[in-house]
Amino acid sequence: MPENGVYQVLDPSGRLREGAKPVLDDEFVLEGLRWMLLSRAFDSKATALQRQGRFGVFSPVIGQEASVVGSAMAFEPRTDWLVPQYRELPAYLMWGFPLVKHILNLSGNPVAGRIPDDLKMLPTQVSLAAQLPHAVGLAWGLQIQGKEGVVVTYFGEGSSSEGDFHESCNLAGVTGAPIVFFLQNNQWAISTPRSFQSAARYFADRAAGYGFPGRVVDGNDLLAVYEVTKEAVDRARRGEGPTLIESITYRMSFHNTTDNPSRYQDPKDLEEARARDPIERIEAYLRERGMWSDEKAKEYRAVAAQEIEDALVEAQQAPRPEPAQIFENVFAELTPRQAAQRRELLGE
């Protein structure tokens, strides 16, 4: 453990830190890299399409791939629940959510973007931190009923200023619910820097106030993120309660496609962040172990590009929502007034 308390397995150049012994086998790491590359490729493609007016507003994961993928790898999607915010695309895919449905949601067609019934995953959340009490209730409910499963919920350092964050951590501590709070500290809440959010040394330090452990990890280090998360998952599975993980990373792109970081971001900071790119780090590590090469990199990128292309084509072919669907899933049964409004809309 380095002196500053931030857990790291790989240094920024991809070399194992002295004394570090990676727990993940190479095949598993390679699988992680595959998700990271898919995520990065999707962000570039979607940004290009958005700039051409062919895609809606979205928030890229760029720079946070190790943070999202490394943490998600520590869960078992068959039993564990994912409670997302909105900047965790590879985690949704790892849970089995089809990329085409993600694209449909971003394109304003949530009807076709419904989460399949067999996936243990809640919808994305843009009312920030509002998902956290849902995650706690879900974990607590599993615990009450003696059902298996751990809950992970994602949010950012900005969201952790919301009251919902504090109420949720407090309730999780009191109930001992099996949950992992995964805070991605990407240094920015749109234009608001990390230093404006909290005077605490680490966001994870707040866990002490709720009576459970907080861990800080280098969020650009896939191996470290996995290890720290796995430890928290195991704790929760053993019935030892919640953990707050602060994953220190960097938002290497805009907040979303409407944002212009040049108004508030020092280009030097971005340059420094790019030198700590999580994908390059894990590529270097695998290359060192003879598991990665230029050919492999090309091959993986080509597969990712094809997967994205296929999903985009499939999304274009999805049925467009029907007007009547405005009135679907409001209640099990519409009120008489809603039913009358539906008839009015449909000209019945």
Binding site: P110, A130, I144, D164, E167, V330, F331, P336
Partner: protein, 325 residues
Amino acid sequence: MAQLTIIEAIRAAILHEMEEDERVMILGLDVGRLGGVFRTTDGLIEKFGRKRVFDTPLAEASIIGSSIGLAISGLIPVAEIQFLGFTHQAFHQLGQQLGRYRYRSRGRFPLQVTVRAPMGGGTKTPEFHPDAIEAQFVQSPAIKVVMPSNPYDAKGMLIEAIRDPDPVLFIEPERLYRKGRAEVPDEAYTVPFGKARVAREGEHITLIGWSAAVEVCEHAAAKLAEEGISAEVLDLRSLVPLDIESMVASVVKTGRCVVVHEAPLSAGFGAEVVATLQEEAFYSLDAPIARVASYDTPYPPATMENLWLPSSARVVNAARKTVNA
């Protein structure tokens, strides 16, 4: 058949549903060892234990927010918020989150959640406790808002709420909690939402109210009867769904109407009632519809609340004016 207060009727409903279905649990401030600040959950922790009767930390947003997750996990939470005024601190979890979850998940996660809270003034509670903010929730179109005014409805509507596959905000008339008893069947029964109740039949004018305002209307109707004015009292029972048919039928019959509510006048639910009646029953009206509500000021200190709340005297005045118009 027993004579029960509203408190006892509510307790009977929760007890029955918890015995009937082990997925039903209650959570909220002081609901366990104390039995609730009004004792609506008295004796339940002894019977069902702490897993199903949970004293939560003092944090309304997470009481509602965690109920969402509890429901997704397979339980049927009945959350208590000590006073409706305290839902100010849970507002985003109620309307936006609880209310929209079926919709935003495109039907994947319907939420069978009941949120109970007492509402209204007249008992000299401290600031913020008595706020009648029911109309705010009607603007969140996917949560049911129901408000019984008597023991029979309290039990039947609460059982209906707990069994409803969708979220229900169950608002209780605090001032009437222990005021009088009424016959309540021992067995379980439901009172369907969206059916108003004719609390008193009349010919000359319709008084429309909900929650504790129904009692105000009934007092006013008794006084008006002494003057030879026969007033019908309609208890809406639920604002969502709204029983437009019964409102219209009564006003078509009487031709005159006064709407009474405890919330301040402007943009109160009375405005919705009046607008609906002028759309649906305009040609049956013999006079403009009047509203009697609290004034458009913050809730006053307890010593002045009776000047501020709609009184039966103000309802009688409004009814007289309407009848003589």
